[in-house]
Structures are given as C-alpha cells and as structure tokens.
Amino acid sequence: MTTSSNTDNWAQVEANSRAALPDDVVKFIEECRRRPHPESHLISVLHKVQGHLGYLGEQQLDAVAQLLQVPAAKVAGVATFYHFFRLQPRGKFLISVCMGTACYVKGADKVADKLREELGIEFGQTTTDGLFSLEAARCLGTCGLAPVVMINDEVHAKVTPDQIPALLEKQIRKARE
C-alpha cells in the first residue's frame, strides 16, 4: 500500500464536527450526502442548525463545511448573505425596530441610531452580556402607532430617541428580577 493513515487527521476532524452539531442535523447531512449534489442542500442544512440552536456559530458552520464537504468560505459566505440567518445567539430581549415606510418617515432611523449607540451593536448583533439583540423589522402592521419598536412580545408605540435609555433600563431591571 502506498499510504499510511497515521498522518491523517480526518477521524479527529470528523468526530469534532459531529460533536458540534445536534444528532438530527448530522443525520440530515448524511442523507444529503447520499443524494446527488449534496452541496445544493447547504441552505436546508443551515435552516436545520438554526432551528435547533437559534443561531449559526462559527463552530457549527465549520462542522457543516466538513460533514457536507463544502468549503468553509462558501458556507460562511452563504450564512452571512441572508438576513434570516443569525450568526450570534439571540439575546434575552429581542428588540425589533420597524423600518417600514410609515415608521421610517416618522423617525425610525433616529430611534435605530439611538439603540445602536446605547447598545453598541449593529442590526443582527447581540450585546456581549447576552441581554439584547437588535433587529430591523419590515412593517409590523401597526402603522398608526409609528414608529414602533417591539421588545420580545411587547409593542412600544410612537417611540422617540430620548425614550430609549429608560426603555432599556426597564428591561435590565426585569432581567435582574
């Protein structure tokens, strides 16, 4: 035989990749591998991972790359392209700022700027303490209350930037309770 296996790290890479993903996802990837063009199922696989974990971490993306045998750069490129995919775990409080037309003309952009400034994060990100995630929403259907901000299931109507610090403080107090 021409090759020896002791320089090969595949067994270890494969085991680490399996450990990083829920069993259901590993099973699904194995099914995809048996079909023609397994790489074409990449987005379905990512949906499944996010369905289980709520987000796509680097470790999970790398594990998908190895098990599905799709280059990690491609997996990361796809995951970062679509707004639907979250790249960080969701915070305890999900703040959705409506950026629909009505809210926007009523100053949602200024509300969003204030939130960014106060939280120190961009849309799609989570604060390092894991409390807040910030997202842009496309019309929540309550244009009469514009601009609207949702914090988890609570609707906050006619929000102005100067209300933001108090609003955040309230959530922090809630988290401490």
């Binding site: 320089t7 790290n9 045998q69 280059p71 990690a72 392209f81």
Partner: protein, 595 residues
Amino acid sequence: MNDRKTVTFTLDGQKVTVDEGLTILEAAERFGIRIPRLCYHPDLSLAGSCRVCIVDVRDMGHYMAACSSKVWDGMDVRTNSPEIRQARRDIVELLLDNHPKDCQTCERDGNCELQNLAYSLGVRERLFEGERKDFPSEDSSRSVIREANKCILCGRCVRVCAEIQGVYNLSQHGRGFRTVVMPAHGAKMDESVCVQCGQCINVCPTAAFLEKDSTDVVWAALSDPTKHVVVQTAPSIRAAIGEGFGQPPGTPSTGKMVAALRHLGFKAVFDTDFAADLTIVEESNEFLGRLHGNGPLPIITSCSPGWISFLEKFYPELIPNASTCRSPMTMMSALLKTYYAEKIGKAPRDIYVVAVMPCVAKKYEARRPEHYLPDGIPLTDAVLTTRELIWMIRSWGIDYWTMPDIEFWNLPSEEFDEPLGIATGAGDIFGTTGGVMEATLRTAVEKLTGTPVGPLEFRDVRAVEGLREASFDLAGTTINVAVANGLHNAKQILDKIVRGEKQFHIVEVMACPGGCIGGGGQPYPPRGVNVLDPELLRRRAAALYRIDESKELRRSHENPAVKKLYEEWLGQPGGEKAHRLLHTHYAARLPRGIK
C-alpha cells in the same frame, strides 16, 4: 467535413463571421477591438458583475455585458458611441466613489488595472464622493496581506482561489456596501486554509491583496557593516525579471541580474539552481531507495511551499509520500549558514541570507520553525519576490538594464559566485512545470541503467497545459509519472493516488499555474497581457529551456561543485549529515481544507 458552425453579425457597422459560441468580447478581440473590462479574466469563470464591458446591441433595449453575452446570427453590435462611452465612464466613476484616493502611495501605482481603466475611459475628476469602506488591513500573514478597503468586489481572487487552486479560501461575506472578501469568518490568512500561493495578488486588478514587504529589512541588512549579506536567486527569476525593465516576456537576464545584485551591495551572489541540482541528487536517491525497498510510492516532489501547505491542510494522508527533501531555497540557505560559513570563517549569525523567489509562500516557508538552526538562527533571513527585487533595482537607480553592454564598473553581465553558483541545465528547468520531473528522470535513468546513456530530454513531462501523465521504460522498469501545476489540477492526480486508481512512481506538483514561472511573486505582466496567460508562461518557460540547452552539463549529478560538496563535506547522498541539513518533515494542519 467541417461541421463547425459559424455566426455572422454586424460589428461596428461591418459584417463579420466568427465561430459559434464566442462571446461579444471574444469575437471583437478577433478584429482588434479590445472592449474595456475589469472583472473579466479569460482563464477564470465569468462573473459579469462590473458592467464595464457593456455594448449596444440593436433592438435589445438595454446595454449588454460583452463578456457574458454570446454572439448570434444577425445581431448588430456597437462597441462605441458617445452614450456607451459615457455609461462606461459613469460605471467606473461609481466604482471609484468609495475607493481610497491614495494612488501615489499605493503599492500598485502604475500597474493597477483600475487606475489604467479610469485613465483610458477618460475619468479626469471624481464627481461622486461616496461613503468610504473602513475595514482593517489584515497583515498577520507571513506572505499575503489583505487590504479590503482597496477591493472593488470583482471576485477574481475568489475565482482563482477556488477554480485554479482548488483551495476556496476566499468568499464574499455579507451583502451590499458591507460585502467583504475574506476567508471563512474573517479568519486571519495564516489561520485559514490559505496556502500562501499568492495567485490572488496576481489576479487582483487593484491592491486588495499584496505580498508582505521585505525590502525594508533587506535595505537595513545591506547597510549594516556587521552583516555579511549574501543572496541566492531561484531558477525562474532570470526568466521573468527582464519584464520589470521593459524586456519582452521570455528574455533571459541572468548576467544582468547578477550584476545588479552585486551593485546593490550583496557580498556574494549564489544560484539556487546549484541547490536544485543537489535536490535532484538527494531526491533521486530517496526515490531509488523507495523503489528498491518498500517506501511509499509515488514519491511526490516537495520544492513548492504552496503545495506543501496544501498537502498538510488538504491531503495529510499523503504526507508519507512527499519527498523529505527541503526546497532548493532552504537547502541553499542551510549550506550558506554551515558549509559556506566555515569556508569564509564567519559565524552563522553574522551571515544574512536573502533569497529572491518567484513566490510569496517562500516567505512563509522561511519562517517555518523546522528551517532554523538549533540556536534559533533562521536559515533564510529574508525572502524577496521578483517584484520586490525589480523595485529595489529601480529604486537604487540602476538603469543599465535596457542599454547595450556598457563599460562601467564591469557591468552589465556577470557570473554567479563559486562554488554555490555552479549549476547544470537540470537545475535551470526547476523553475517551470515538469522541470523537476525531467531533471529527476535525467539522473534516475543513469542510476537505474548504470550508464550515462539514455534520453536527455523528456518533453512528455513539460505540462504547459497543467496536467500530464506519462510512462517510461527505464532499464526494464516501467515508471509512471504525473506532473501537475495549479492545485486544482494536482487534485486530479492526488485523488487517483488516494483512491488507489493508478500506481504512480513519481509525481511532481507545483502550486502555481505553469510552475514557479507563474508564481505569486512574479512581475505584474505588461498592460494587455493577463497573468495565467498560457502564452506568457510558455515564453518564460522557453527562456529556461534555452538556458538548459546552452549548458554543457545537463544532468544534476554531473555538477562538479555538487560532487565536490559531497566528497569534502556532506558524505553520501541520504547520509546522516545530508539528512540533517537537507531534509525536513511535515504534519497535518488545521483548519482542514475541503478537497
């Protein structure tokens, strides 16, 4: 019988006929019209993203991208009109609106495609001032710097990395204005599957990828009186350096290069080709040992550091097959810090070894911990690319390159220093794809047959097209060989080995298209010539074959300086001392690449 279909259409008012299947851009080139282009590259897949190559096709109602639209019968194409010229100029102005305004201090000043394009389209002022990108420079790598602020998102680097190199380290992350080309998750280049080949630098139309600069440390060493600064030059430098001084591709410039290096202040100028000959002696010995014993076959060449990095990240199971020979550069450096140091009576730490390489991965190779002396002194102190050396020579003001012979300080044509400057033709052809294989065969034939007869030239292994397999009957033994350049091509052979489909005996892999002559550190080609252009690579290779043909000695083991080195210092090929100085080891590395 000619069932080739043709298409007749109108090009700028004239009826023309071309083969079916050509794009408008390709068809126009046949008639001397070079439609402006940016993201297009003839050797990569189509992106059609920059829209610079738009043309007017009658009755279409909108401009079409010439690079990605095929010609059809009866179409009426206009490549120029005031409106098209204005639209192209607007497109380039919009590309520039978030591009830094630092052309004068940019590494690509003077050979930037975006700059040239803006000039030729008549952009004379910047009407749009858009938001600027604010990405940090990623310069943690030994070899390749990523400057995302210079990137115009043409995607050539992504395509060359995936399609030509099969590495797929780069992709566009995110979307819209925040789109950025980088390795997965924005990893540092050294912590990604990057193999440091530098082809992204070669195809980039701007300066979004650059080699890590070493000119500063070399200038500093040259002016340090306590350092004995010596230099070695790889085989392929002489075949390409002339391009930096206006010579047509394929002009050999050995003598002028040596003279210029002495002029810059190097105490001695040695030829990496000598170490190439030495590599062949060691590697043939290793091959014959494996052939007659039970070592792993095929033996795979180990000169190309981009390839070695690829091996360790993508095919670690084949590590036992790789030759343990250090690359010629590192062999030469090892000899300079030991054998040569002894000869001139200097301590290794007082000798500063500069290597001029066609390669950015050599910068990474030089810093691998295996290539240091036990007391922490590097074998190779600094690696310059061909481009960096060209710049140093120009910066110094050495101007005799383009002149006929002139009598001034005995310039302009000089010989390498002895004894580490003596090389056979086999050493010269190391710089091109198939060269290491041919040099190995020249020596192996004689070792197998026991006589110096046998073929000298093995033209079947000159794999200019990228991939070649051949079989030879050497003294009753059939030897199957394969040669690949460009790592995507190499995968085809490596997969056959992994699957056990074919028993090869010797496999040569060079990471870059065409081999070292097409390396990631070679000169940016003149305007209108593409890197990766097979014709450019053929001409550079032809220069090396001409040098080989002109030499009296063309088999590595006949090199008298190599023979003397073994006799007086090294002992036997593959012996204890040779092994310690000339061989190395490899290990699997993470992240693991996807084959």
